[in-house]
Structures are given as C-alpha cells and as structure tokens.
C-alpha cells in the first residue's frame, strides 16, 4: 500500500466517526471534553456554531453519530452489550447548564452595516433558520416567512412537548431572530411567482414536507370523524384544538411520528393505545430509543398486520381489520409481505391515527416559475449547492429531498447559505470551501497529555426519567430529566477522544516494538508491505472492518512499514507514551466546516496560500 497522506483533511476526519457521520460535522469529542470540564458555555457554542439548535437536538436528534461511535465497536466482545457514547444527551447537558446571559453576550451581533442584499426564506423550520443565522450577521437582509405565528416549524408544531419543552424552542429560535432577521409570522406564501416578483436577491425554500400520507381503504370516508392524519393531529394538539382522544386508540405506522402519536394519545385519555405496523418490528423506521420509550409507556407494537378496512357502525368507528402477513425474501433478497392465510385480525378502537409517512407538497410553486420538477413531483435540486434550476431559488431541509430530520436540515441550510453568499458575490458556487483544520500535539510532559487518556470501563449511563404516573398525566411534562452532573461527567469520560489522533513520524522510529507491545487493542503492526487485502489479513489483529482505514507509513529502516488499523483504536496514547523517540505523537485534529462568510470566498483561499 502507498503511505497514508494525513495532510488530506478527510483522513483524520473519518477517524472521528461521530463527526464524520454528523451531517453538520459537529466537533463532537471537543464539546464532550468541554462538558466533562464543566465548560458548558464553550461546549454549547461549539455546538451552536455547527448545528444551530443544541438544546433542541440534544433532545430530538436522530443521532447518526451514535451508531457510528467507535465506543460501540470497542465494547464488542468486551462486556454485556456494546453501546456508543450517549452523545445526543450529553449535548443536552451543555444546553441545560449553560449561562444564557453569557451565551447571549458571546453571540454574533446583528450586522452593523447591511450589504443591501435581500434574502427570503420560506418557512421558519431548522433549514431556513440556519440560512438566516449564517447570512444575517454578514449584512444580508433576511426575511423569514412563516404560516404559523411563531418560528420553529415541525420542531414546534409536530414534536410533542413531553419530548421538547417550548422554552427551549423559544430560546434557540430567539437567538437567530435576534441577529437582525426579519420574521413575518402568520404569513403563508402561496405563490412562488408572487415571491419572485418581490425582487429578493435569493429565495430559500425550507417549507418542509408538510403533508401526512392518507390510507385509502374501505370505511375511511364513513368513519372519518374518528380517523386522523398523524401530522395534522399532532399540530392540532400543539395548538390545543384537540385536547382529548378516545379510550382505545390504534396508531398506524412505524416511524417516529407514529411514536409521537401514540405517546401523545396516552396523555390525552388513550388508555388502550397500540401501534400496528405492516412489516416487522425490526424494520420500523422509528429510532430504537423512541420505540423503547413508547413500550416503556405501556404501548404494545404489533407487527406484520396490513390494514384492510375501518369497521364502523352507524357512522361511528368501531375498530379495524388487518390481514396477517409474513416476510418472504425473493432470490434478489427483496422483502415481500405474503398473506399467511390466517383469518383477519380485528381490533376494537375509538380513534385511529394514521402515521404512515409524510410527503412533500408544493401546490404554491407554479410549474412555470422556472423551477424544474422531476421524479415524484419533487423540485430538481443540486445535492451539493442546494440550487434549483431557477438559479435564484435554493432548497433545503425536507423540502429539498424529502423527509429527513433536523440535523440534515441544518446541514442543508449551511450549504445553501454558502451557495447564496458565493453566488451573490459572483463566485462559482460549485467550488466549495475547504473545512478549517488544525492538528496540534497534546503532549504536556512525559506522561501528561492535555486530554484525559485513561480509558473508562463504564457502560453507558441511562438518562433518568420522570415518574411515569406523573408524565402520563400531562402532555407538557418533559419525560427525560437529562443527566445530572455526576452521570454527565461519567458518560463524557466514556468518549474515546477519537479526535486526538495517533500521528506517526517514520524517520525517528527505531522499530523497538514498544507501541506494538503496549497497544491494548492490537492496532499496530510492523510488517512487510503488501496490497490492502493482504495487509488486512496479516496484522496483529485482523482488520476486517473495511469501512475503517489502515494508516500505513513509508518504508522504515528494516524495509518494513508500520500499519495501524484505525478501527478500534482507543486513542489512549499508550503507543506515544511508550515510544522512546517520539515517533508517535497524540495530536488533536480539529475540523470546523466553513460556513457562509469571508472564509468561503475565493480571495480567502488566495490569501491563505
């Protein structure tokens, strides 16, 4: 293999699995260390800079970082159940414990001088608010149009209050609006052409995927009074148009919205609430922890039941029938649901909530507004620049590529803001800015590092919950209490500090094997070079996780090479402590995405060069 080029930011970025997996590339280990140190304000601001909504995400994020977390791999075959670091809930710790006044003082200020350019954002969800946050301090005049009275979008109207208190939304939406953003609530945009006619310099569409899918099966129309579309129902609950539901409730669908529906039902009078899904429990789209939360509240999840009809008497819903199916896989491995032939199942109920998916809807964008629509009647949007075929119009969040989640919306917002900023400066928006990267030695003394390298053997800490009897009484009582100081510190210590990289300098290596002998995970091998497959099979421990890189040095004095499998490295620094010549060093890799602003412009690059 060729020697690894560690100068490419992607190499070490990939080693920081959580940061690589995060759509917004939040520097996770950095803020976890700050939380452990009790520096909640600093931790909050690192988050705020990259993901804009730390308090909201610390409760609701889809956490792509956690399945990616190295801790989950490291604990394999080392105890009962391998678990990643509770990254998401640690984020909440810094949001809960920060000093809000101090934070406000450290926020960017509204631009002293406007640059005269006007940007319209449609919808006040996370994508639009991210665009506003990135562009307003630069001097852009950003106007956010929102159909509801307050900003926040789906986060405010669909995510129930027992998961996300309204104060948190008010606070974090407020931080953005305070940057000199013009917010126009109660203003629904119902014509793109009209909006275009208002001569904005750029338009960002962050209007989400607002339409809940319906289920057209017999009885739907007749029993309509007790059948509700989940998304709309959740919003009605938020606006307090709906305050109760029948005693027996069936929730159809297996996504996170279904979980929010069933748990909300439990709080509005539903005593016998069940979730019924077409396919298998394992295949459900809902996050595992949301399924657990629902089950914890006494909500059974029944699977392999395909809805057949709504049963009603005298115009009143009495129950539902389902066809029993099983999963079969064809030759190509595709899953098919096949009827088992058993009699249909019938479940009595008073109300049904349909949460079988959400769709994009753009009835307000005229098809001759210069925006091309493609497959599934979705706008054609560039995946990198977020630009539509009308070069003035950008998309992001669920509006761009269909329903995803908050953190993706934030990432889209950043990308769109960069595009808008470059485009309005007359630059090529396909030239994307490089991230800001630093790699700094953490050595403080012979055995002293500026990070805590002693690996914790603790298993994942569980976030404490409020008593069930209490939480089921009110839809506004938050269920999770968040980590207390002690467990937050202990959980933070489970983080392996994957951003503190093992950096190898082959010129000073004397091949004494000290690093090989001390490495607890058998990551390091000195061997004759070969092709990748050959090396992976012949290391001290086989490197079978192909998603993880091998770090290969140039030829050493003996003609061999150093090969390090990044897969399960603990970043404990023992290789560097045992190295007599300093050939190994622990260096902190800090990567920050370049957002809209001077850093993303061409001249910035030239100056740096």
């Amino acid at each position: 293999m060729k020697p690894t080029d560690i100068r490419k930011p992607d190499y070490f970025h990939k080693v920081v699995d959580c940061q690589w997996a995060c759509p917004a590339h939040t520097p996770v280990p950095e803020y976890i260390r700050l939380i452990a140190a009790g520096r909640h304000d600093d931790a909050y601001l690192i988050n705020w800079k990259s993901n804009v909504f730390p308090g909201i995400l610390g409760r609701t994020c889809d956490r792509p970082c956690e399945p990616a977390c190295r801790r989950g791999r490291v604990e394999e075959n080392n105890g009962e159940k391998p678990e990643p670091v509770a990254i998401c809930r640690l984020k909440r710790v810094c949001a809960d414990n920060k000093d809000s006044d101090a934070i406000r003082a450290r926020m960017p200020k509204p631009a002293a001088k406007k640059n005269g350019k006007r940007i319209a954002c449609v919808g006040a969800g996370p994508a639009s608010l991210t665009v506003a946050r990135d562009l307003a301090p630069l001097g852009y005049h950003v106007t956010v149009f929102e159909a509801d009275a307050k900003g926040g979008g789906f986060m405010r109207t669909q995510v129930p209050r027992f998961r996300l208190p309204e104060e948190v939304i008010d606070e974090e939406v407020g931080y953005i609006l305070d940057l000199g953003v013009e917010f126009r609530g109660n203003t629904r945009i119902d014509s793109m052409k009209d909006l275009l006619a208002q001569n904005f310099d750029a338009i960002f569409v962050g209007s989400g995927a607002p339409r809940g899918r319906d289920l057209e099966i017999p009885g739907r129309r007749e029993a309509a009074a007790n059948i509700h579309i989940g998304l709309d129902w959740l919003a009605s609950v938020y606006f307090e148009h709906i305050k109760k539901i029948g005693r027996r409730v069936i929730v159809l669908g297996g996504g996170n919205t279904a979980m929010d529906c069933c748990r909300s039902s439990r709080r509005l009078g539903g005593e016998d609430v069940k979730v019924i899904v077409r396919s298998g429990f394992e295949e459900m789209k809902a996050s595992p922890w949301e399924k657990e939360d629902a089950q914890h509240e006494g909500i059974p999840i029944l699977n392999y039941l395909v809805p057949k009809s709504f049963v009603h008497e005298n115009g009143k819903l009495t129950g539902m029938t389902f066809e029993k199916v099983r999963a079969e896989h064809d030759a190509k491995g595709r899953r098919k649901l096949v009827p088992t032939g058993e009699p249909d199942a019938f479940f009595e109920c008073d109300d049904v909530l349909i949460a079988v998916g959400q769709e994009n809807a753009f009835p307000w964008i005229e098809r001759d507004a210069g925006i091309d629509f493609g497959e599934w009647d979705m706008p054609v949007v560039d995946k990198v620049t977020m630009q539509s075929s009308n070069r003035q119009v950008f998309f992001g969040g669920d509006a761009a590529f269909g329903p995803k989640n908050i953190i993706w919306a934030v990432a889209h917002g950043h990308d769109a803001a960069v595009s808008i900023d470059k485009w309005l400066s007359g630059e090529d928006i396909h030239e994307r800015p490089e991230p800001g990267v630093s790699l700094i030695s953490q050595k403080m003394g012979i055995h002293e590092w500026s990070y805590d390298n002693d690996i914790s053997n603790d298993v994942r800490y569980v976030v404490p919950w409020r008593d069930k009897a209490q939480t089921l009484k009110s839809i506004k009582t938050e269920v999770e209490l968040g980590f207390d100081a002690t467990s937050a510190f202990a959980e933070a210590q489970r983080c392996l500090n994957c951003d503190v990289q093992t950096v190898f300098s082959k010129d000073v290596c004397i091949e004494c094997d000290a690093c090989v002998d001390i490495c607890p995970m058998d990551c390091i091998t000195f061997t004759n070079n070969g092709d990748e497959a050959e090396l992976r099979a012949h290391l001290s421990a086989p490197a079978m996780n192909l998603a993880q890189a091998l770090y290969v040095s140039d030829s050493l004095k003996t003609g061999r090479v150093m090969v390090k499998d990044e897969d399960v490295c603990l970043h404990c620094g023992l290789c560097a402590e045992r190295c007599p010549t300093g050939a190994w060093d622990m260096r902190k890799f800090f990567l920050e995405m370049t957002h809209a602003g001077p850093g993303c412009h061409k001249h910035a690059k030239k100056e740096a060069a």
Partner: protein, 351 residues
C-alpha cells in the same frame, strides 16, 4: 514508564486458547521500564509463547534477581508464582524450588549484570546441573539502573554513551552455557519476535537446562553509535543460523520458506522444532561445531542468533538424581519416614 493502567478493553476478535485464556490474561502490570526498552518486547514474547502453548499460568514459577531485567516478571504472567531473589541468587532459589516441586514450569529471568557478574557462579552451577528450566538472560551490555556503566557482557572496544571505550574482554554466556552442558542453547533479539517467540516456546517444552541469551537494547544508555548492543548494530550484524517454527502437535504452523534445508528436531514429549538452515553447514546437534561456529562468527563481528544447540535426548537434574516420580513437596510422613525398624537397621549397619 507510564502512569495510566493499560485499558482492560481488548480487540473484539481476541480469542481464548485451549486453557480458556486470552492473550491479555497472560499480561502483568504495566511496565515501569524506560519507553522502548527491549526487555518489554521480551516480556511480550513470553506472553505470546505461553498463550500459544496453552500454559496454565498458575503452573508457572517466574524467578528473577535484581536489575532492570529482573523487574520484568511483574510485567507478565500476573497469575503465576513469582520470586524476586537476592542479587544474582535466582539460579539457586530456582534450583531449590525445582527440587521441591518439579511439576511447575520454571522461568528464570535475569540480566547480564545479575547473571554475568554477581551471579556468575550461580548461573554456572544451575546450568551445569541441568536444572529443568528456561533461563532467559536479557542482555543489554550495560547497567541500566545505575545509568549506563559497562556490564560483563559489553564487547571489547564498544563505546559507552559518554564516549568511553570498553577495555575489558566480554563474557560470552552462550559459549559458557554450551561448555557447561546446557541441553538447549539459543540466542535471540528483542527486536525480532518472529524468531524469539518460537525459541521461547521450544525452550519451555525442552526438558533440561534451556538457556536463551536475548540481546535487548537499552534505549536509554546503550543505543548509540559505537554500541554493539543497539537496535541498529544488532540488525546490521545479526547472523541468524536458522529460522524456526515450534510445532506442538496440536496444529502445524505453515510458513512459506523460499528455500533452505529443513531439520526437524523432536524433543522428549513429541514436540517438534522445525528449523530452516540459513548458515550452510550449521547443525544444531553438534556442541563442538556450535562453539567453533560462534567463535568464528564472533571474530568477524557478527552476532549469531537462532537455535544454536539442542540435545534431543536430554536429561535433567531429577533424572540425574533418580528422584521419585512424585514431586518431593507432595511426599508425606509415610513416604519420608522409613520407621523405627528401618532406622534400627541403618544404625546397626553403622556400628
């Protein structure tokens, strides 16, 4: 040295041997030796060898004297018996322990200071008696704990870190072991585990006095230009007499050798040492030829490594003394006391 404890977490693919232990179970405390010390590599080789041989840690006694090398038993086999003796007296304590309980595996770990200076008389007699043991000398040619004075194995003309040239002749422990009748004599290099691990395994399975001289560079005081025990010097002058695999009958390790004659050495309990000859006419069965070869090569400034001599039909001290088959420490009063009638008879014979 290092301050944190080596993390308990291990590679997910780490497996157990037939004795039910992972390789990590054979480790000891984290080393407090200087970073990069060759001795730590030897400890790692001992751990690897014991794991591969499915050795029960509680059936091992590790004994040492005083010095950097003699500290190392703390850093491997933490579940074994250990004895840190007075300086240079490890061979006597080991001999005594072996006489009392011949069923344990005896691992004597010492250094060039402990064995070649203060303990030379002890070393000589333990070898001469053929005590069943593995005697490892971690040889760095220097007194590391007292900051780098020449030891008795430092080569004539080699330079100290301060630039002083050694004017004394070196003591050749491999030559002495051969001359004193050791039935297994080898030399390894801490920087070459692929050679050292099979050597230790073969020595463990050898019945009789097995001696391994392991050149182990002292990174702090003897790893500079002018030293003959530095990583660079040993790598440049290493003349491996043979490459070996140790096959204990359970599974055969197949290594693709390019060419060279293979010799299988079968030891007393059926284990096989497979040697690939590297030096043309070298035979590990001929004690006299081995001594000549070593002298010739040493005169040319080469460091001969590999399995230098092995006696397939070896015996040990218990064999020489014709002791009973049960370990002496398990004999009770019944076996040890012949009774008053027998005593009266003996007394009568002396009158």
């Amino acid at each position: 040295m290092t301050y944190i404890v080596k993390p308990k977490l291990h590679h997910p693919s780490l497996g157990c041997n037939a004795a039910g232990f992972t390789r990590r179970d054979y480790e000891g405390a984290v080393s407090t030796l200087c970073a990069g010390c060759g001795h730590d590599s030897i400890s790692a080789a001992i751990i690897q060898a014991c794991w591969e041989l499915d050795i029960q840690p509680h059936r091992v006694a590790k004994l040492s004297g005083i010095g950097c090398s003699s500290k190392t038993p703390t850093y491997f086999l933490s579940a074994s018996h250990g004895f840190n003796t007075v300086h240079g007296r490890m061979p006597s304590v080991l001999t005594g322990a072996n006489l009392a309980n011949k069923e344990l595996l005896y691992l004597g770990v010492s250094g060039d200071g402990d064995s070649a200076s203060i303990g030379i008389g002890q070393f000589v007699h333990a070898i001469r008696r053929g005590v069943n043991m593995v005697y490892i000398v971690e040889n760095n040619g220097v007194y590391g704990l007292t900051k780098g004075q020449f030891s008795a194995t430092a080569d004539l003309g080699s330079k100290s870190k301060k630039g002083v040239t050694n004017t004394d002749n070196p003591l050749d422990m491999v030559g002495m072991a051969l001359q004193l009748g050791a039935s297994f004599v080898a030399r390894g290099f801490s920087g070459d585990k692929s050679q050292l691990v099979p050597l230790i395994k073969a020595a463990i399975k050898h019945k009789g006095a097995a001696f391994i001289d392991v050149i182990s560079p002292c990174v702090a005081f003897n790893n500079h230009p002018g030293s003959t025990k530095s990583y660079d010097y040993v790598r440049e002058h290493n003349e491996a007499a043979n490459r070996l695999d140790f096959i204990d009958g359970r599974e055969e390790i197949t290594v693709d050798y390019a060419e060279g004659e293979l010799i299988d050495v079968t030891q007393h309990d059926g284990n096989v040492i497979r040697l690939r000859k590297l030096a043309g006419s070298y035979s590990p069965h001929d004690r006299v030829a081995a001594m000549n070869y070593l002298h010739e090569r040493s005169a040319k400034g080469e460091v001969v490594t590999g399995l230098l001599y092995v006696d397939e039909d070896s015996h040990d001290l218990h064999g020489h003394m014709n002791t009973v088959s049960a370990p002496l420490n398990r004999l009770g009063a019944k076996e040890l006391s012949p009774g008053t009638v027998a005593l009266a008879k003996i007394n009568a014979a002396l009158r």
